[in-house]
């Protein structure tokens, strides 16, 4: 069975603080993909990153960084020097390689960045 858990329902930080959003997943598949999406109040899910299960290199993109650890089935997302525009709901998702684009989403973490 596929499952994604985002234990943090809501996080509040002050601008310029660093914040880490946790994601833990479950799967019996050996090949899979992990994703992070951002959902602003407008509702549209914005793609942030995709990682393959066989590539455990961490990735940095500007203020965003991702830490993928297969040993603990985690794919955590860190925002450095947070900004008010980062306020949104963030979703972690899992997809099996051959599962025709069927995503399993976590319940999301709402990030509030206060000025």
């Amino acid at each position: 069975a596929q499952k994604v858990t985002q234990a943090q329902t809501e996080i509040s930080v002050v601008e310029k603080e660093d914040v880490t959003l946790d994601c833990v997943y479950e799967t019996r598949d050996t090949t899979y993909y992990l994703f992070w999406y951002k959902q602003p109040p407008s509702g549209e899910l914005v793609f942030l990153i995709r990682r393959n299960s066989f590539d455990e290199q961490n990735e940095i993109s500007g203020r965003y960084s991702w830490n993928f650890q297969k040993s603990t089935s985690s794919f955590n997302f860190t925002i450095t020097a947070s900004q008010v525009v980062d306020s949104a709901v963030y979703f972690c998702a899992l997809r099996h390689r051959y599962n025709f684009n069927k995503f399993y989403f976590g319940s999301g973490t709402k990030l509030n960045v206060k000025p």
Binding site: V4, Y33, F35, Y37, S42, G43, E44, L45, V46, F47, R50, F91, A93, R95, H96, R97, Y98, N99, F100, N101, K102, F103, Y104, F105, G106, S107, G108
Partner: protein, 114 residues
């Protein structure tokens, strides 16, 4: 390059009615997936269309049906609406079904069932 578009943006219906939601995929994409996102929850997969056929389905009743047209656009139909069908309905498009593609989501249709 237009992204994924959906219509209408908002919709109010009453129990027992039927509703049709529409989606146009991103240019170059031929696969459309539909998701239901209840308030405070992550999106739940409804079904996926490719080559005008339903390729995969999530755990949703037959009241939920769909269609894909030759131009790759898609419709989601929900019959006999229930209060619990109130949600944000998201459409996502991608290219092919090989599994490596990234899905791009539209802004969604907010459905309220009274």
């Amino acid at each position: 390059d237009a992204g994924v578009t959906q219509s209408p943006t908002h919709l109010i219906k009453t129990r027992g009615q039927q509703v049709t939601l529409r989606c146009s995929p991103k240019s170059g994409h031929d696969t459309v997936s539909w998701y239901q996102q209840a308030l405070g929850q992550g999106p739940q997969f409804i079904f996926q269309y490719y080559e005008e056929e339903e390729r995969q389905r999530g755990n949703f009743p037959d009241r939920f049906s769909g269609h894909q047209f030759p131009n790759y656009s898609s419709e989601l139909n929900v019959n006999a609406l229930l209060l619990g069908d109130s949600a944000l309905y998201l459409c996502a498009s991608s290219s092919g079904t090989g599994g490596q593609e990234t899905q791009y989501f539209g802004p969604g249709t907010r459905l309220l069932v009274l």
